[in-house]
């Protein structure tokens, strides 16, 4: 069969046109499925937390650990007693460890050695995200630094990169160490890293983080740092706050009132 140059070009043109309008045809064909965010989801551009330790301490001294327990229950965090293999999402560090650059000889007794609640800072410029070779650690549009455990290969680059020790590695199967299993949230498996997810699963369904909700002293204030009218921004505008290791340029989204 002979094809003239003219016919060949015509056929080519028709094919090209077909390809261009194909997506539209598919769209009109009906029976399309969709993925949507829940209408209840909290919306924000940059979630953050202001932690008022002065409100926390009196309760903390009485033994209150509500925020840790709520987190543990919500996320099936194993209670590994071996210090070297501990899994931590939210915990306390003495002032000198949490804010090493602030430490000096004559530090006020009211702060010296005091416990500070620490967790992943959901950094605006997160080194953990930059180093993760599989993109298992990534930043969501609302600022949450999130992990996709399906993709984590356990290389632990992120642990080396995080300057806050906010990440833990599962050296063994975490399941035997989970006290009370929440069947609605997956556990992790041996060989993956885990950390605080800012309760993405709750935010997406309209609830504040579990720790914020659980604190009886109201020491944790959650909100959108991008919204000048949010409660967190109002506190930041009116009171002196500090961040952990701001000199590193990670731009933490967790602020502390001291």
């Amino acid at each position: 069969m002979e094809t003239s140059r003219r016919n060949f070009l015509k056929a080519g043109g028709a094919c090209l046109l077909g390809l261009t309008i194909w997506p539209a045809v598919k769209g009109f064909a009906g029976n399309s499925t969709e993925y949507i965010t829940s209408s209840k989801a909290l919306t924000g551009e940059k979630w953050g937390l202001v932690i008022d330790m002065k409100k926390c301490w009196p309760k903390y001294q009485e033994g209150c650990r509500e925020c840790f327990l709520a987190c543990q229950r919500a996320h099936n965090i194993p209670d590994v007693t071996n210090k070297e293999e501990e899994i931590k999402w939210i915990w306390t560090e003495p002032y000198e460890n949490a804010f090493p650059e602030q430490e000096h000889e004559y530090i006020a007794a009211s702060i010296k050695g005091k416990p500070f609640i620490v967790l992943c800072n959901h950094c605006e410029n997160p080194p953990c995200v930059r180093v993760c070779p599989t993109k298992a650690t990534f930043k969501r549009r609302d600022g949450i630094v999130m992990m996709d455990y399906h993709r984590c290969i356990g290389c632990r680059y992120c642990m080396a990169a995080c300057p806050y020790g906010a990440r833990s590695f599962n050296f063994s199967d975490p399941r035997p160490f989970i006290k009370e299993v929440n069947p609605e949230f997956p556990t992790r498996e041996k060989g993956v890293v885990e950390k605080c997810n800012f309760c993405a699963e709750r935010i997406d369904t309209g609830l504040p983080p579990a720790c914020v909700e659980a604190c009886p002293a109201g020491a944790l204030v959650f909100g959108d740092l991008d919204d000048p009218n949010s409660e967190v921004r109002k506190i930041l505008a009116s009171r002196y706050t500090i961040q952990r290791k701001p000199e590193l340029g990670t731009h933490p989204c967790i602020y502390y009132l001291v």
């Binding site: 499925t33 993925y35 949507i36």
Partner: protein, 131 residues
């Protein structure tokens, strides 16, 4: 032509060996799984219909679940609008297993038959009822 005896014997031995797996297993085919989907939750459904048509779920559930995972974990989108317009939460624990409450019946039978080992359950929590 003197070697034809050896050649023919050799060929027979070869053919027997190569076809060994076929005739050794002839007639012993494992029965196709017939999972019982009859769970209390399904019985209570007014219309016994999964999130999509059964034929599609049978052939494509893995692709659907893979997409659900991407949407939930990476995009923060948690609601699936099915082709019939109904909305479902994209959750293995909260949606799939709500009805398919027996992993042994619903997942394992076919996966074992086909010898595939998806590693969902090292992290996702399997339902209690498991017969």
């Amino acid at each position: 032509m003197n070697d034809s005896r050896y050649i023919i014997t050799g060929l027979i031995v070869f053919i027997v060996l190569v076809t060994f797996p076929f005739w050794a297993n002839a007639g012993k085919a494992a029965p196709a799984p017939a999972p019982s989907l009859d769970t209390p939750a399904i019985q209570q459904l007014p219309e016994k219909q999964c999130v999509e048509a059964t034929a599609y779920m049978r052939t494509d559930h893995m692709k659907l679940l893979d997409e659900w995972r991407t949407q939930v974990v990476r995009e923060g989108k948690r609601i699936y609008v099915a082709s019939n317009g109904k909305e479902y939460e994209m959750s293995l624990e909260k949606t799939c297993l709500e009805c398919h409450s027996s992993k042994a019946q619903f997942c394992d039978q076919c996966h074992n038959y086909l010898d595939v080992q998806p590693d969902c359950w090292t992290c996702h929590i399997e339902p209690k009822e498991n017969k």
